[in-house]
Symmetry: D2
């Protein structure tokens, strides 16, 4: 059964829930999930609404048109999606395999509500992995002085495969501000996080030196500020003095896999609303 999913974001006022739910009702739709939030920080109204498309009086384009009219009236930002539309995903990676392989494994098990169309890497070591699961693999080397041309090639591949969402699965290159802006809220990155935070290289070594008792990972939308951007998901695990740096890296890999997969899942199900530098996740 197919569902329409609507994400809405506007200034709060009375009647918004009534207006949106009335719209669904008057065309014969049955709401099966409604989650609304009024935010104390900005006084705004946020809502995610899911209804069954079966028997709905309007066609998909008509829904879009009708919603545009409502959105204009209430100055809403909104996104509309149908859950039989398979999101098209590109995975960017470098040498590390754990996040890429994990996403492939989840795709094989039918866990992703989307499909990895292509893997793009600045290295070629994961080519055979991709091929054994029949996923196209494009090797685009990146060097300090050909960044622009590499990004042009990456962009071309994304267009060729009609990509909706880019996942940086431990991709170790920094994307340009232009690239990031073009794909705003459509690139998800995973990185390690710690209490306290460690800027700079070799964070697990720093964490070991500092004797932290918990390590973490954070998935976020990519913005031009490095390792910043709206946080979608975080998770942590315990470490002790018995954990070597290698143990921490291994535990970190597990965290990165889980957190990235969860964030992607939330994103693909249109559960994530980015607002300024944070997100609302209708989990």
């Amino acid at each position: 059964m197919t569902h329409a999913i609507l994400l809405v974001n506007c200034e709060d006022r009375t009647g918004l829930v009534a207006t949106l739910s009335q719209f669904v009702h008057e065309h014969g739709g049955n709401i099966i999930d409604a989650d609304q939030h009024t935010e104390e920080l900005d006084g705004r109204f946020y809502m995610r609404l899911v209804w069954e498309l079966d028997g709905f009086a309007l066609g998909r384009d008509e829904i879009a048109d009708a919603l545009n009219a409502i959105a204009d009236k209430y100055q809403m930002e909104h996104q509309l999606m149908f859950d039989d539309q398979e999101e098209r995903i590109a995975v960017f990676c470098s040498k590390a395999s754990h996040c890429v392989h994990d996403l492939i494994m989840r795709q094989e098990m039918g866990e992703l509500s989307g499909r990895i169309q292509v893997i793009i890497s600045n290295h070629d070591n994961l080519k055979s992995l991709a091929e054994s699961f029949s996923i196209p693999y494009v090797h685009i080397p990146v060097t300090a002085d050909d960044k622009a041309s590499a990004e042009a090639k990456q962009q071309a591949v994304l267009e060729e495969y009609k990509i909706d969402t880019v996942v940086l699965a431990r991709y170790m290159q920094i994307l340009s501000a232009e690239f990031v802006e073009r794909w705003q809220h459509h690139i998800i990155n995973i990185h390690h996080s710690f209490l306290p935070a460690f800027a700079g290289a070799r964070p697990y070594h720093q964490a070991k030196e500092r004797g932290v008792k918990i390590i973490g990972a954070t998935a976020h939308y990519v913005t031009s500020a490095l390792d910043e951007g709206p946080i979608i998901e975080q998770n942590v695990c315990r470490v002790s003095h018995r954990d070597t740096v290698d143990d921490m890296i291994r535990k970190g890999r597990d965290l990165e896999r889980q957190v990235l997969a969860h964030a992607l899942r939330m994103h693909l199900q249109k559960r994530v609303l980015p607002i300024s530098n944070r997100t609302i996740v209708f989990a």
Copy 2:
């Protein structure tokens, strides 16, 4: 600012969200929180709706009347509450202090959206604790053959203090089926294990013998089936062979305090909907 909180439970059909939100809107109410769920297990519609009472066109009794009319039409079960009504709580305890003391501490910090009116115990060892926080303490001894008379006295105290919710804070006596039924969905118990594992006596000893790696605690509404009843909240922590039974009991106390306080908080905010032997918690 005062809010109305509405909990609804009925057979699913189209138009329910629209009907309820339209009702709020047409009387000038602003919805600030709406959370709706359609359950796959039973195909039913569950919703929690919160709106600002300020400027609402109907008085409290009028709201109740109007909602009764809607509820009749759609065969809804519903509960209506206003969050300036302080729930009146009775705490039942025996000798163990940790849950009682924790609840008092939270009350002192303003964490409870309710007020402990009276503490009832079959022992008198916590009397001075209660008194140092100016909470009435009623000592009602219970013996095997005077259970009925003890419960009659307890009931009288609950009526005297106009109690809404009873919290069993490690109360070690079993309540009669009649008592439990009279207070259905208004008695919260904390069980010192991760139900349904290790129901019954000495769960920490059972857990130690079994070598489990995680222990837990469960808060639930009390039903006449011992250690059963709809689960409101659970939490766990890790243990190892290094933990003695006493260590597990100590860790368990921390869990019990957290889980009971959280469950009570959810209950007082009318976030918990019991359905058959489970709950929906609009967290």
Copy 3:
């Protein structure tokens, strides 16, 4: 650098740590990890001792002989292992891929201190997965009336590949008491629930019906008592009414992968000492 790992288990008495560490010292060994536990349940002495083999005065057989002499004197049960010996692993599976695939992925990343020599399944759907990672795959169908002959074939494969440890990676057949006994403490199973709760079939459905707020997975050594056996590792995650049975199964898969991999890791590093129906894990 190679290490000797010694696991010891005997009745407690004075001088055991001194005797064992003196043995290592007098032959020029450097202890790099010592973890000792005296258990309140049975008053017994448990110890794990790791020392550098480099420069140790005794050869491997001589160590074994010398330890046997000590063990006789103190009525110790003990296991001796050298960490350059790669444990030989067989993975049993049925149709579900997630645990098998996860173990393969970890092997590819160098996380296992052992090597999967063969995958044995009563189905053939994971053959191509195994082959794409160059792991032999033996399809041994099992039907109700040929169980004994299937087990004979399985045993032959285990012998052919000189297997040390068998991992049941969601293998859905029940092994005979004879088979289990022959491989006592060398078969690790992953059970898709938080044992001892919800033993038996369809635990996620049971959990959904019961409205639990936390689900878990348990890895344990297999004994002839179904869903029993010494627990090696458990982990949990939160669920709510919003999780369908399918969501719980998906979350459960993640748990099962993590818990099984962790248990196997502990086992391969000789960190697990099974005692009656529990374990000590020197983590």
Copy 4:
């Protein structure tokens, strides 16, 4: 039954475990807990050793002398303690009650292996709380220009009560470098922690603005570097957009209570070895 607890820290070499355990054995002591760690970061040897004092051939002073001789020979740093010696604790607080009250509650339940001798505060609002549990309360106001004289008074109180360990239970004043140095590794502080970290004021507001999904708390020994110092314990909990800043503060209070109590417990049981800016916790 009384135990001796020995913490040792020295350069690694062969024979250390043998020497220490032989020392215990030759005087008739029974080791009931031995935990040893060789650290990859610095190549040093760390050990915690616990033995029964009952029947031990040496008196307490003789043990100390004998250990000093061993320590000299191997250039060990070491601490010796007997677990019938009740550590004497001073709690510093300001206006917030949660950590102080929690520690009192744990003391009442017999969870602390130490005793709160005195509460020192720059405010007087918690005086009646302290008094209702018969704990001396000393009000020492602190203003920007009388810091030195306030610290002199605090120091006098600590000496009067023969304090071993100072707990900063949300004490909102910064201690001078001199004070901190005098009490090196004997002052434990609790503060909130986040991923990413937020320097400066109102961290929960910052965390809300940043949309973090996890908040945490860290207990550490106080050094002259603000909010730095060797970490003893950390813990975290989940938050979402539904949590207001007040909710986050409330959840943070729970974390702070747990983490501080756990860190203090580890410290009192001589399980914590501070090394440069980290700790080893023999948990």
